[in-house]
């Protein structure tokens, strides 16, 4: 002789979790998320270029999902000068199960010490979960507006894959992509890294990084900074990074718990 509502409520025990239970619950949710443990990022800021770009992608997905009737919390976003997500990125995103951005591992000082007219970039792809295949990958670098005296000049930006380590002998390079830019241009330059990423996944020992070379209209190598390329030093939200889109190539089962 009781209401059904009370019956429903009484089946749930409401109490505060003990710390051990809390840890176990966190462990179970991490397992559902496919993570072996809680990530502990050592250095990070949500206002770096890569997290901001990824947040843009996240919001693209969230906006697409809303008309279907469910919604979830959307964080207050840092505003940015120019949109980072292109229509091509949106297409890659539709097809992807996972997107991952990679920070540049080459330290600024080390980079400046060795090169004046080229810049090196390295990305660690070893942490990609098994069973994920790269469907697209990009290297993204920001180009700022440059001083007036170069305003009418054009430059050629070339991205090379390093084939041989510099310590062995002469550096061997493979041209991946090239772009003509105006000095007055401003915004993100995007270079295709899809075949290179696939190679690096299969043969990690061949991941010796990328080199960027800047040439002026006369074919002379110039310092990338001259064209406004933000390579190492510069604002956090304009730092270069790599992004890869993945599709799960196999169905993964959770382990029995």
């Amino acid at each position: 002789n009781f209401s059904m509502d009370n019956e429903v409520r009484s089946s749930f025990i409401q109490r505060r979790l003990r710390s051990q239970e809390r840890r176990e619950m966190q462990r179970e949710i991490l397992s559902i998320l496919g993570l072996p443990h809680r990530p502990r990022p050592h250095v990070h800021t949500k206002h770096n270029a890569a997290p901001m770009f990824m947040l843009d992608l996240y919001n693209t997905i969230s906006t697409d999902a809303e008309p279907h009737g469910y919604s979830y919390y959307k964080p207050a976003l840092p505003t940015q000068a120019s949109p980072m997500v292109t229509s091509q990125d949106s297409r890659f995103l539709d097809d992807a199960d996972m997107v991952m951005s990679f920070v540049n591992l080459v330290e600024q000082d080390q980079d400046l010490l060795h090169q004046q007219h080229r810049r090196e970039f390295r990305f660690d792809l070893s942490r990609i979960p098994e069973g994920e295949a790269v469907t697209a990958a990009e290297f993204r670098i920001y180009k700022d507006f440059v001083q007036e005296r170069y305003e009418n000049e054009t430059f050629i930006v070339s991205i090379y894959q390093v084939l041989q380590a510099p310590s062995n002998s002469e550096v061997e390079l493979l041209l991946l992509d090239q772009r003509d830019i105006w000095a007055a241009e401003e915004g993100w330059l995007v270079f295709d890294l899809t075949p290179t990423s696939n190679l690096w996944l299969v043969k990690p020992e061949q991941n010796l990084g990328l080199q960027l070379v800047l040439e002026d209209s006369h074919g002379h190598r110039r310092n990338p900074r001259l064209a406004g390329l933000v390579t190492g030093t510069g604002p956090q939200d304009k730092q270069p990074f790599m992004v890869a889109f993945f599709k799960a190539s196999e169905v993964r089962f959770r382990s029995i718990r």
Binding site: R40, Y58, Y72, P75, S101, R127
Partner: protein, 141 residues
Amino acid sequence: SAHGSKGRQSNRSKPQRTVQDALKAVEAATDNLGFSKEGCKKHELYVSFRDLGWQDWIIAPEGYAAYYCEGECAFPLNSYMNATNHAIVQTLVHFINPETVPKPCCAPTQLHGISVLYFDDSSNVILKKYRNMVVRACGCH
């Protein structure tokens, strides 16, 4: 019948009468009790990543509305949400043999995914889609 062999051995017209009798009895009982049963419904459930203390590595979302399904799958089932044909039959059989056959279960019939954006140990950022994380609709199974 909950016990297949016994059912097949009995007179064909007898189970038919039994079901009809059971339905009438349930209708009468429901009317007499005079309370409205809480049917199978979608209820609010918010999973907070912030409450888990994960805001240092999860960039977005702060949490998400997961919902859950709860409520009785009771006769007449077609007045509730999304009952399968089998659930309706199971309800009828439950009336006849409540000790052996339970009522159908209230469970999700449609689920949706969420996307989670987080840092890994190397401060790389991962955006991953997880399927079947949000209840979109409930029903009796």
